[in-house]
């Protein structure tokens, strides 16, 4: 765990050093200088100093290992009240407020702990979960045990959403709100699984669909977030008492074997001792208070992600009992069996692609009267995020690390709200690259991954960014971006030995390249149908066979209609025409009995060109197959 403390108090620094050494076995980097002098220069921009510090932190991260990251921010007393404005695009915000807000956005995985009062909403989870106190230190210990060292990466505590809210509502002097389209994450999701890869993947899927999310992989974190009962008999108090939200969406494994499972599970008066196990969903809802409360929420969605084995009659009867319970408890229920076929299949199986979830992902340009550029400070944050994501992805060895990179890119994409198009497109590309890397690295995802939905998603996202290009260039720019992304994905799949997905990306890229090529000169539109056909048939051998069969059938029909084979009649004439068409396709020689006329010879010539083209396509297919590793 990496701990950085910005404090001038030697006494507090000493306490923190002791705490982290004895409890976590880690050192604390103390920055006693606070915000550098550059931030307080006579005429310099306050943000310059903040930017320098943020860049230094991002650079320092590359030399560190470990997943957890805590930043303790203790402004000097005379600057304490300046934490009340945590808006990075507010020109009146002071250096400490700017620093905190920029850190929160640029380092989503960093758990920021503030000393002193802040401007966060008094009743919010963000305020209590980000105040340096015994409660939050205990929370950090539980998180450290979980192996996935962050409650904030997917904004589980809602701090980022509060900063975003300030950004969203920042008015310019002309009353416009340039960042009003910044996506909003009002709802909360949890994923419960002792396998951190599954928990993180599920939480990320929820995050992608507009939820704040929290992966739960240990009993300690589950108790904190879901309000678990104390296993000590008679003790009812929550371990931390932080005001966590009741989840709107829960992904959960049926069989939970947390590494820190208490020796004795908590009592549940309504459930007999023999039924007290976490695989009993009735008991689970009773033990975790907020899971029980969630059932009463409107639009609550419960997704059980399980291997689904029911090898014994006992397991089968438990499964039936659980199903009967969750159905009677209300809310939407989905069951997903492991492994899953990629993120988009997962989204579909979880019922998250329904219109109710899609409509919240509005087109960023709708109703936006501002400029095509995001505020400079937001662009700075996005660039820091993208730099970090790129570096993280290059060194990612596990699905969790790749998802981490995807989150950073996703944050950059959302912060830019489609503005500053080049950087926004880079964010889109990087997010998809990181996602396919995660899918490919994760054994819990089926060998063949759904890429078609991904192409649709890329088209939608690129389209939203391209609205800022000139109308004449819009579609072309969009094609160009999609082509680049498809090629980068193909490269990524290739390096991860996902051959089918690589070919699918190359086929998609080919189609886009042809589209782009014909748009360069008007006369090329004549060749557009041919190029489309080439792109279609090269996508797979099945399509090629279907294409050839269609041509044979088509020309057979033509020969039949034109009576080019005069000796036969009725059905026999059709079969004769079909055989003749197939014969010509295979040999480029007409049947001997074929009648010759200008029209028929012209059609035979056209058929010859088509057959020749298909021969070329067949050779291409054979080459592509033979050249696979």
């Amino acid at each position: 765990m990496r701990v950085v403390a910005f404090t001038r108090s030697t006494e507090l620094a000493g306490s923190l050093r002791r705490y982290f050494r004895f409890v976590h076995g880690s050192d604390v980097e103390i920055c006693s200088q606070g915000i550098p002098a550059a931030a307080a220069g006579p005429r310099g921009s306050t943000f310059d100093g903040v930017a320098t510090l943020v860049r230094d932190l991002a650079q320092g991260e590359r030399n560190k290992t470990g997943s957890g990251w805590i930043a303790i921010l203790d402004p000097p007393s005379e600057a304490a009240f300046r934490l009340t404005n945590l808006n990075p695009i507010d020109p009146t915000a002071e250096s400490w407020g700017l620093f905190v807000a920029t850190l929160v956005l640029a380092f989503p995985e960093m758990h920021v702990l503030l000393v002193g009062p802040s401007g966060l909403a008094a009743s919010s989870l963000a305020r209590s979960a980000h105040r340096l106190s015994a409660r939050t230190l205990e929370l950090m210990r539980h998180v450290a045990v979980s192996g996935f060292g962050s409650l904030t990466l997917l904004d589980g505590t809602g701090l980022r959403e509060q900063v975003r809210d300030l950004i969203r509502n920042k008015q310019e002097r002309d009353r416009s709100r340039p960042m009003r389209a910044l996506p909003c994450r009002e709802r909360f999701a949890v994923s419960i699984d002792e396998e951190s890869s599954y928990a993180v993947l599920e939480a990320y899927v929820a995050f992608r669909m507009g939820f704040r999310a929290c992966p739960i992989t240990t009993w300690g974190v589950a108790s904190e977030v879901l309000g678990g009962k104390n296993p000590v008999p008679g003790a009812e108090a929550q371990p931390s008492g932080l005001p966590w939200s009741t989840p709107d969406l829960v992904f959960e494994d049926l069989y939970l074997n947390f590494l820190d499972l208490p020796a004795r599970l908590p009592d549940a008066p309504k459930i007999s001792p023999t039924e007290r196990r976490l695989s009993n969903l009735r008991y689970r809802d009773d033990v975790f208070e907020r899971l029980g409360d969630a059932k009463r929420k409107d639009n609550f969605r419960r997704v059980i992600v399980t291997v689904g084995h029911r090898r014994s009659s006992t397991l089968l009867s438990r499964w039936k009992e659980n199903l009967a319970y969750v159905k009677s408890a209300g809310g939407h229920l989905r069951i997903i069996y492991k492994p899953v076929a990629g993120m988009f299949s997962f989204i579909r199986a979880a019922g998250l692609s329904a219109k109710t979830f899609q409509k919240r992902r509005r087109n960023p340009s709708v109703g936006d009267e501002g400029s095509h550029s995001a505020p400079g400070r937001i662009v700075f944050v996005a660039e820091v995020l993208l730099g970090r994501a790129s570096h993280m992805l290059a060194s990612a060895k596990t699905a969790v690390e790749a998802i981490h990179a995807a989150v950073l890119a996703c944050e950059a994409k959302e912060l830019l709200v489609g503005k500053t198009p080049t950087t926004a497109l880079e964010a889109v590309a990087l997010q998809h690259e990181a996602e396919v890397a995660a899918e490919s690295m994760f054994l819990g995802v089926e060998y063949n991954i759904d890429v078609k939905q991904r192409f649709n998603d890329i088209q939608r996202e690129v389209g939203a960014v391209a609205v800022w290009f000139a109308p004449g260039q819009r579609y072309r720019s969009s094609l160009n971006a999609r082509l680049t992304i498809a090629e980068r994905l193909a490269q990524r799949f290739s390096s991860l030995h996902q051959v089918e997905e690589e070919l699918a990306c190359l086929a998609h890229a080919r189609k886009l390249r042809f589209d782009l090529w014909v748009r360069e000169k008007p006369w090329r539109w004549v060749l557009w149908p041919v190029l489309r056909y080439v792109a279609f048939t090269l996508a797979s051998l099945g399509r090629f066979v279907a294409g050839v069969a269609s041509w044979i059938l088509l020309f057979a029909g033509v020969h039949y209609v034109l009576h080019s084979l005069p000796d036969a009649s009725g059905a026999a004439r059709f079969w004769h025409a079909l055989a003749s068409s197939a014969y010509f396709f295979a040999t480029l020689q007409p049947c001997e009995v074929v009648r010759h006329s200008v029209l028929i010879d012209g059609i035979l010539a056209a058929q010859g060109f088509v057959a020749f083209l298909n021969l070329g396509l067949l050779i291409s297919h054979l080459y592509l197959t033979a050249s696979r590793r």
Binding site: S15, F22, T46, E78, F81, L132, S133, A134
Partner: protein, 349 residues
Amino acid sequence: MDRLLVIVVTRDWASRGGPEDEFCVDWLQPCDKEYWWFPGSALHLLLVHGYAGRFNSEEAVRQAIDDHARESSVDSSYSGCVVLQHSTRYRIVGQFTVSGVSTEVRLATYGSTAGSVLEALDLVVSNLSDNSSDAREGWKKEFRKIAPVVARDRMAQLIHAIVHLFLPLEVDFSGLREASDEVSRTDYATEILRTRTGDSYEVRLRKLRFWVAKVEGDHVAVQSSSPLSSGQCFLELVLVCGLSLEDKLIEELVGLCGLIDNGGAFRPDDQERYETPREDDDQVGSFFKNLDEVQEAQALIKQSRAAVLKLGPNQKDLDFLEWFARLREVMEGIHDRLLSVRRDVGGGE
């Protein structure tokens, strides 16, 4: 509504960021800013940061005012305009128009000879004979509303300082609670006692009581210890902001500090209303006194296991972690009530 534009140029001979920098110390504005723009409903204030070396002529002051007025949303809809300067060194004299403001500008100075900025403003506003008496009273009232804004920020400073009195102890107690076994807990406690620095806990409690209610001000360790240059205590700031001392949260804060509330008027200079309890009844005081005794015992009995194990979160009758968590919540709760008071809308990098 009639609106008045008030421009105040702060003390221009004080060194920037120094103890006499009026802009930073009295108005609590960041030293790196050049001005503060406060648009109230009936009165707009432009506070220009004066400091040594900034102005070298009357013209430079005029230019700074003009520049900042243009950067702020100064428009031409004011019924009057007043410029108040702390210093007479580069005093603006003669005709003066502020960018975009067509009305007549009244000039005045304030400071040790001319009285406080508030008195100077009252005087100038009273002489604005073209405006109705209602409007003039409204402006005076509006100007007084700026005081709670500053008081709220001072309160945040005070809370931060109070938190620092006990936060290191909270971190230590938290670690002792979370240490995995008794051996590491003993090592931890030994380390705390070996390396701990700063005031004794008894002095910290005295400071807390002094900073909250100016009780125990006669103790030598707490005299002149106020983190605020104004020397105000928490309850004074509460009164400036218009909150009542009978408020439940204020009463709880006083109780958490272990003070006795005798009722009646609160006058910071004579402690009639709040006082410390007798030693036997002082639960909070006895807890911290005991902590100091543990520290002293450790100094006498080097690394005594029995002594260090006395140090722990559930010692005596006070649950320190709960007490401190509640103290912070109550103070921040009071501060939150004041957040509706608007702070700076303008700025100036």
